[in-house]
Amino acid sequence: MIGVDERGYYGSFGGAFIPEMLHPNVEELKENYEAIMASPEFQAEFRGLLKDYVGRPTPLYFASRLSEKYGAKVYLKREDLCHTGAHKVNNTIGQIILAKKLGKKRIIAETGAGQHGVATATVCALMGMECTVYMGELDIQRQRPNVERMRILGAQVIPATSGSKTLKDATNEAMRAWINNPVDTHYIIGSVVGPHPYPEMVARFQSVISEEIKWQLKEKEGRENPDLVIACVGGGSNAAGAFFHYYNTPEVRLIAAEAGGLGVESGKTAATTAKGTPGILHGSKTILMQTEDGQVVEPHSISAGLDYPGIGPVHAHLFEVGRAEFVAVEDEDAMKSGIELSRLEGIIPAIESAHALYALNMIEYKKDDVIVINLSGRGDKDLETYIKWGGY
C-alpha cells in the first residue's frame, strides 16, 4: 500500500525534522488538519471555491493530433485552465481555508517560478489576509511578471539573498520567517515537501486531479483507469495529485518526469532520483542532490518550477519501491515538446508541463494505450524563456 503512516512516513521517507521552535506549529497542523478537512463546512467551502473560483472540474481533453503522432490515446488533464494558470491554486485554496479555521491572520509562502506565490497571493486577496512571499533574488530577476502579479494582488515579495538565491533558499527563508512568527502565521508550502503533515496535506488537496480523471475517463472511455499517467515532478505536487487515486492500482503505470537540465551527467541537472541520495531536506527524509559531505547541491533546470534539489517523500517512496517510473527530460527536449504541443493542439504549455509531454518519447507503451498527461500549467509565464530559446 502506498500511503502515509501515523508517524508521517511513506516507507522510509518523510517524518518531521524540524527545529524545536517549529514543533508547536507543525503539531497544531498535524492534530487538526484531518478533522478540519473532513468537516462538512470545510468541504462545502473548498468544493465551492474549486468550482466557482478556480473553474473546476478542469477538462480531460482528448488530444487527437498528439494521439495520432504518438500512436496512443492521449488525454490532457487541463490544469493549465485553472485560475492563475496552474494546479498550484488547488492547494492554496485548501490551505487558506484551513489557516482561517486555525485562526491564523497572516500567510507566508515560498516560490520558485512564482506560480505558487501568485496562487498564494490570489487566495490571500480573496480572503483578505496579509501575504508575504519569499522568493530567491535570482528568481525575482528571472520571473519579473509573476513578481509584479503578486504585488498587484497585494502581496509583499521578499528576496531570499542567502545561499544560491533560488527556490531552496526561499524555502529556508520562509521556514525562518515561520520560526520568527509562530503564533498568528500559517506557512502555505507549495508542493508535497516539508515536514509531515505537509506532504500528505498538499497531496490531498491536489488529489482532486485524479478524482476528476477517474470519472471523466469513465465518461469518455468507459473505464476509470488509464494505462499510464504522466506528470512532471519538481517537488511533486501535480504528480501526487494526478497519481493519488491510482497509487494502489498497480495496473496503472505512473510516470514521473524530472528535469534533466543540460543532462543527467552534466552537473547541471535537477534529476533528483538519478543523481540524488537519501538525506534530509526542508524537514523531511527524502532523496536529494547533495555532495558526499551532505551539503545540498544547487540544481539546474530551464523551468524554474522544477529547479529544486529534492522531491517530496512520497515520490522518493514511489521510486524506492518501483511503483513509479522516473525519466529525466533535458531542457532542449522539453522546449521541443512545448513547441510541438503548441503546433499540434494550439496549447502553449508551461515548460514544467512540457517535461511530462516529452516523456512520451522516452517510455514504452502499447498502441492504443490510454495515456493521461497532467498538463500542470500554461505557458504564459514562460514566454520570455520560449522567446530566448527561439527554436520555433
Binding site: F17, E20, M21, G163, M175, Q290, V296
Partner: protein, 257 residues
C-alpha cells in the same frame, strides 16, 4: 565523567558557552579559536558544523556557514583538525550541526569520532525528540555523548518536562520566537518566559541563547538561568578581527566581567 556534567556539578551560575562556526573566518582557525575561548574564561565551547541550508540560523551565522564551506570545511576536515586538541583545550566541547551532513558521514562513525577526539555533547537542532529516542539515544549514550534539546517560548510545559526527562546535560532555552542573531536588549515578555521556566524546577541546568551579545544581556539571562550562549555576536567579533587570539579573549572578558 563527561566534562559537561563535571562543569555543572561545580558551576551553577553565569556559565558562558561560546558558539563559533568551524572553518570561519579561515579554514585552520578552529583549534586556535578554541584555545582563545578557553584563555578568555568561557566555560563551554560549541563548534558549529557548517551546512548549506541552516534553517534555524539568521544572516550572521548563515554567512559564516557559507564562508566556512567555501574555505573547504567538511566533517572529515573538522575531525582531522580536532585530533589531539585535548592536549590544549580542557573545556567541555559540544558539536552543533544539522542532521544531513551527519547522516551522510554516518551516525555511528560520527559518534565514534566525537568520542575519539574528545567531544562531550551534541546539539542537533533538526533532530526531533521522538526520533532521537527511537533511533539514536542508545548510540549517543554508548559513546558518552550528551544530547541537548532546544525549547522556545512556544514549547508547552508538558513538552519541556518530557525534554527535561530525556536529557542529562543542559537545556538550551531559545530566548524568543526567533532564529539566531543578536538583537538589542531583553524584553519583559522574555523575562516572563525565563521566570516561568525557572519556576518549573527542572532537573537539568538551563542556558539561554539567541540574542545574547554583551555583558548586560549575559547578566540578565544569567539572573534567570544557569548562564547563556553567545553565537552571532561572537561570529561578528571573529569577522572583524585582525588578531583573533587577542580579540576573542578581550571580548569574552568584556562579557563575563
Amino acid at each position: 565523567m563527561n566534562r559537561i556534567h563535571t562543569l555543572f556539578n561545580t558551576k551553577k551560575e553565569r556559565v558562558l558557552s561560546i558558539y563559533f562556526t568551524a572553518g570561519f573566518p579561515n579554514l585552520e582557525d578552529t583549534v586556535p579559536i578554541m584555545e582563545a575561548i578557553e584563555a578568555g574564561g568561557a566555560d563551554i565551547i560549541e563548534i558549529g558544523v557548517p551546512y548549506s541550508d541552516p534553517v534555524a540560523d539568521g544572516p550572521t551565522i548563515q554567512d559564516s556557514n557559507q564562508i566556512a564551506l567555501q574555505n573547504g570545511m567538511s566533517m572529515n576536515k573538522l575531525f582531522e583538525q580536532l585530533v589531539g586538541f585535548r592536549a590544549k583545550v580542557h573545556l567541555p566541547v559540544v558539536l552543533m550541526g544539522y542532521l544531513n551532513p551527519i547522516m551522510q558521514y554516518g551516525m555511528e562513525a560520527f559518534c565514534k569520532k566525537c568520542k575519539e577526539v574528545g567531544v562531550d555533547g551534541l546539539i542537533l537542532p533538526d533532530l526531533p525528540m521522538q526520533e532521537y529516542l527511537d533511533e539514536y539515544k542508545a548510540l549517543f549514550d554508548s559513546y558518552g555523548l550528551v544530547n541537548t534539546f532546544l525549547i522556545s517560548p512556544q514549547t508547552s510545559e508538558k513538552r519541556i518536562r518530557e525534554i527535561d526527562g530525556n536529557t542529562d546535560g543542559f537545556i538550551y532555552m531559545v530566548s524568543s520566537h526567533s532564529i539566531t542573531g543578536a538583537k538589542s536588549g531583553i524584553s519583559e515578555e522574555q523575562i516572563n518566559y525565563f521566570e516561568r521556566v525557572r519556576e518549573m524546577n527542572l532537573k537539568n541546568p538551563r542556558l539561554i541563547g539567541f540574542g545574547i551579545s554583551n555583558s548586560e544581556t549575559f547578566t540578565t539571562a544569567s539572573n534567570y538561568s544557569n548562564g547563556a550562549i553567545i553565537g552571532s555576536a561572537f561570529i561578528k567579533v571573529l569577522k572583524n578581527s585582525e588578531n583573533l587570539k587577542e580579540d576573542v579573549q578581550s571580548y569574552i572578558q568584556s562579557v563575563i566581567n
